[in-house]
């Protein structure tokens, strides 16, 4: 599955300035934005603090429908941290809808259990990656490095 298409709306998109540092290592210098989608208040708080400390502008919503609505209204986020189980609209459904809209943001799923079958099923909805929640400092840095390199 290829997710090269980016959002058709440019509202809220920050400018990307990629430089070549002379060693053919691209360094993206821009302000990243993230959306935390999770019905658990504590997890949202932890992930928000973690991302804010890493210099990422962060917003949080409590279910998949609110996430889809935000993108539909023209908001854009470089990174989405998507919880699997949520009321109203769960992670897999929200992910499918975002991909169907052509959203090319990095979507990282989080599950509460480290079950391979569960993670695979969630990945099938269109995730870039899947972790067990809550994300650790190491996890988040790995995710942001991947995002920075894309």
């Amino acid at each position: 599955m290829v997710f090269g298409a980016s959002s058709s709306s440019s509202k809220g998109m920050t400018s990307i300035d990629k430089r070549n540092d002379g060693n053919n290592n691209f360094v993206a210098e821009r302000n990243l934005s993230a959306l935390i989608v999770d019905d658990d208040l504590i997890v949202r708080r932890i992930h928000t603090t973690l991302l804010t400390k890493l210099g990422v502008k962060t917003q949080g919503v409590e279910n998949g429908k609110k996430a889809v609505d935000l993108f539909q209204s023209g908001d854009f986020f470089d990174l989405v941290i998507m919880d699997m189980e949520m009321p109203v609209m769960d992670g897999p459904e929200a992910t499918k809808q975002l991909r169907a809209m052509g959203i090319g943001s990095m979507i990282v799923g989080v599950t509460s259990r480290n079950l391979e079958s569960e993670k695979q099923a969630f990945m099938g909805a269109g995730l870039n990656d899947c972790y067990v929640k809550p994300l650790t400092v190491d996890d988040m840095i790995a995710i942001l490095n991947k995002l920075n390199n894309n």
Binding site: I42, V43, I46, K53, G55, P134
Partner: protein, 177 residues
């Protein structure tokens, strides 16, 4: 008791939480997020947890009073409660949550009720311990640490621009992916 002694007491208390299985690695992750900008982050999150989980415990209690028991609903409530408890590293509480969910899957109402009583006990014990711990930590005040040399991210100096202001203590000297 002088300041150093209080700090030692606080450190010993903290270590005992891990040694006795009350807390796990996730609590350390919370501590990693605490700094000058968020000086009481751990206490804030724990307070938020105890406030928010009161509602979840009430939901479970009410669901356990129904007859016949709705195991799907009970499991759903407990899934939420387990998630929150995991987030603060509440190891024993989390373990009881897992046990409760096993009983839900097996349709064992008595097992659920028994486990829930035990869960509430562990939940209350941890609350008391953490309250005492935070109180002592506040009395002890901030710990003075020797000035460390400015960290150097040797992979790519420009990355420091994105991450300026805070680098996890583990990465102070080398930055590895």
């Amino acid at each position: 008791m002088d300041r150093n002694q209080v700090h030692r007491q606080v450190a010993l208390m903290r270590q005992s939480f891990f040694d006795q299985g009350f807390l796990d690695e996730q609590f350390i992750q919370l501590e990693e997020l605490q700094d000058e900008a968020n000086p009481n982050f751990v206490e804030e999150v724990v307070t938020l947890y105890y406030r928010d989980s009161t509602r979840l415990i009430l939901n479970i209690e009410q669901a356990l009073e129904k007859s016949p028991l709705d195991f799907n609903k009970l499991d759903c409530h407990m899934h939420q409660f387990k998630g929150s408890s995991s987030s603060i590293g509440a190891k024993k509480v989390k373990s009881e949550c897992t046990q409760f969910r096993e009983y839900c899957k097996a349709g064992n109402g008595e097992g659920c009720m028994r486990t829930f009583q035990q869960l509430k006990k562990e939940y209350a014990i941890l609350k008391k311990k953490l309250e005492t711990y935070f109180q002592m930590a506040r009395q002890a005040g901030p710990k003075e640490i020797a000035c460390r040399p400015k960290p150097k991210l040797d992979i790519c100096p420009d990355l420091e621009k994105n991450y300026v202001g805070w680098i996890p203590s583990r990465f102070r000297y080398t930055f590895s992916f």
